[in-house]
Amino acid sequence: MTAERSDEDVELTLPNALPILPVRGMVLFPMAVAPVLVGQSRSIQLIDDVMKGNRLIAVVCQKNPQAAPAGPDDLYRVGTAAMILQLRRSGDGTIQLIIQGLERVRIRDFSQTDPYLIATIDRAKEPDETGIEIEAVGRSVRDLFRRFLSMMPDIPDEVGRAVELLEDVRQVAALVASALPIETAVKQELLELDSVGTKLRRLVDILQHEIAVRELGKKIATETEETMTKAQREFYLREQMRAIQKELGEGEDGERGGARELREQLDRANLPTEARREAERELARLERTPAASPEHGMIRTYLEWMVNLPWNRVTGETIDGDRARKVLDEDHHDLEKIKDRILEYLSVRKLRHERGLEKPEEVPHEPILCFIGPPGVGKTSLGQSIARAMGRRFVRISLGGVHDEAEIRGHRRTYIGAMPGRIIQALRRGETADPVFMLDEVDKLGVGIHGDPAAALLEVLDPAQNMTFVDTYLNVAFDLSRVLFICTANTETTIPPPLLDRMEILRLSGYTEEEKLQIARRFLLARQLGAHGLREDELTVNDAAIRGVIRGYTREAGVRNLDRALATLCRKVAREIAEHRRDRVAVEADVVETFLGPPKHFSETAERIDRPGVATGLAWTPTGGELLFIEAAVYPGKQNRLILTGSLGDVMRESAQAALSFVRSRAESLGVDPTAFDDKDVHIHVPSGAIPKDGPSAGVTMTTALASAVTGRPVRADLAMTGEITLRGKILPVGGIKEKVLAAHRAGIHTIILPKGNVRDLDEIPESLRRELEFVPVDTMAEVIQRALEPARMTV
């Protein structure tokens, strides 16, 4: 007998009367471990009594949460026997418990109501059920729950993993039911359902609903893409529900699954020949398959996909260059170069189209546009504008975290719950075959064990192949050549090289404060006013106030948080006006705080550099530029060690070595005693935790910090620097200059030291900013030291 199952049920011994602990706002499920706070004095007495004995209680939810203390009539009749695992009495007399649900019980009679409730109980354990149906619905619950969790950032990840690991569907039901943020009454209803099967089915219901509500909510909140209308969504969900019920053999319609109706839809859907043939084959199969078999639901779902895809529905108008320009200008401030390039791109497309040059074999491929830049600089919204300018639909998918080829290309139809890949799903949502299709976060595409999603994507983007893109689920070709694909990313360094080869990079690096002010004034504020139903005269915000918001509440390259802050402002004002407390509100700098709370950010430089050994560097990150404070210290030590802290990357370590060698070899010319490093340990630290500390561009900063530490001369506080350094002290150019300069300006830096080789990058910096900043191009470390360090202080 070696094959004993480890999760075999234990025979529990339960007495036939148990003290009843009424609880509010929670339902304890069998096998769930939960914390409970006990405060009522009779409940405390109850706990005190059972702790001396078997530590068993029955936890029953209050039907009527207001009742205190709850009498027999205020309680549900079904609860859960539980064991007290841990107890802690706090200073205020309340008791914190950790209890574990053991088994469902039904209250028969209350044998005592004073001082606390005791009832005779009947054991009401859910019967164990197994079988294919239970497994299928268990699978659906797991899948839906995972999807649900992905929308709930505040439920910890372990919960999702735990649900995957549980084998017993009863445990799955208990965990999901406990974790869902649903009303107590619904949880109680779940507890009372008798069979695991019905519990799971009810959970499918609830999860579908919760997911739909959240997706819809998200959609309304972000107003990103035009996707499904509410009616369509309901239709879609109902279809899924029906498919699931079919698989469970619950379908009611005895007719051959609405085959006639599907045929009619098929006639209208205008399918290409190959697809039509496949659909006919499946339709014939549908008619032969009994409605109760799981096959039936699967075939039906497939056919519904086929009839609902926009095989030949297009909306693209001919592109009118002037109109396109107008649309782009209406939606976006400045970005002139990008807009020019977009218009060029569109006119080439148009010309090719007019001259019939679209056959990809005959002409070189046009590249795929890829917008690269930090969050909130308008990548997505540019895509939306392009769609508007071309009179096309806009759809968007995020590739972040996609590491399974099937997510792009779809699952084999034989799976239960199989679906087409995201490309086809998005096209169905967009309802046309020629939308502007944005592929967000190509830089976050993963590689997993289930094939390479980048390869699948390459096929999607390649004009030589995408006319006959075959989604594994559909199993027939869909013509993607009419789609205009646009990619976005925060950085190109992690885009798979074959994809990068096919792209033309358009860079958006971020905005200056002045530009942000303009964007807020001309675009964001007007949109937020509209979204909150405010008229322009009801809320006015002056420039000083907007600047106050930018400086005190945002620190970003883009304008996303600025947009949010303005939304908060509008919401608060809308409320005041709706409640007739005021007619109109004029926001000036000094009242921003009353709406947004105390400012979150202050200029960070001045206070950081107050002693020798600290230098401000400029770093590039995928979310824009950042300041990087590097600290160096030299102290007595026997081994002449170089200690690096702050989890620096390898390249950064090399830079640190180079910095040390340089300062050592040039001690004399730096005015440092040549023996300054004898019997000394050198410590270099990069305090800020959030930014990737790789890249050679910190070399100059490290060297300066070190020089400052050994000479005792502090670095000028309003000065920042970037540049790579060779062992001989020569300064080499680095990347990301525009982002770095913007960040420096945001933080109140006035002087920027940069490699001479980077001077031409300064052309990209807006004029207004160039006027406010002093740039110091350098070739050698000696020049840096001379400019960066304060004169030596006289020691008294």
């Binding site: 096998m31 530590r55 107890l87 439920i155 919960v159």
Partner: protein
Amino acid sequence: MRYRRISYRFSEVMTGTRVRLLGDPWAVLPRMVIARPQWRPAADLYEMPDAFIVKVELPGVSEDQIDITVYEDALVVEGARHCESPGNARYHGAEIRYGPFRLEVALPSAIDRDRVTARYEGGFLCASLPKIDRSRL
């Protein structure tokens, strides 16, 4: 047993630390957990030249309450620990697990099930699981 008596408050000797009644299980408790109703005692498994030894931390269990099941590839220890406290006790903290327990230990290789022996001493259960002596086969 040795005792040391110190007439200071703990907090006066160990500056900066406060005595906690118990550790702080609340701080680390994930929000929801699903668990089997039996608890699992801590155990060691180690190998001797001729046997595997499974040592289980099981104080407060009477010996005749412990069930040991020996499989070819696993050892299962089951039983229950009962709580006994005086009738006028009032708890301020409790974290010792009572009630049914169950421990499963997978064994690295086959054992001679007929020669398994177990001792219960000082709160530990020690099961000795002789390896199969291949030379005698």
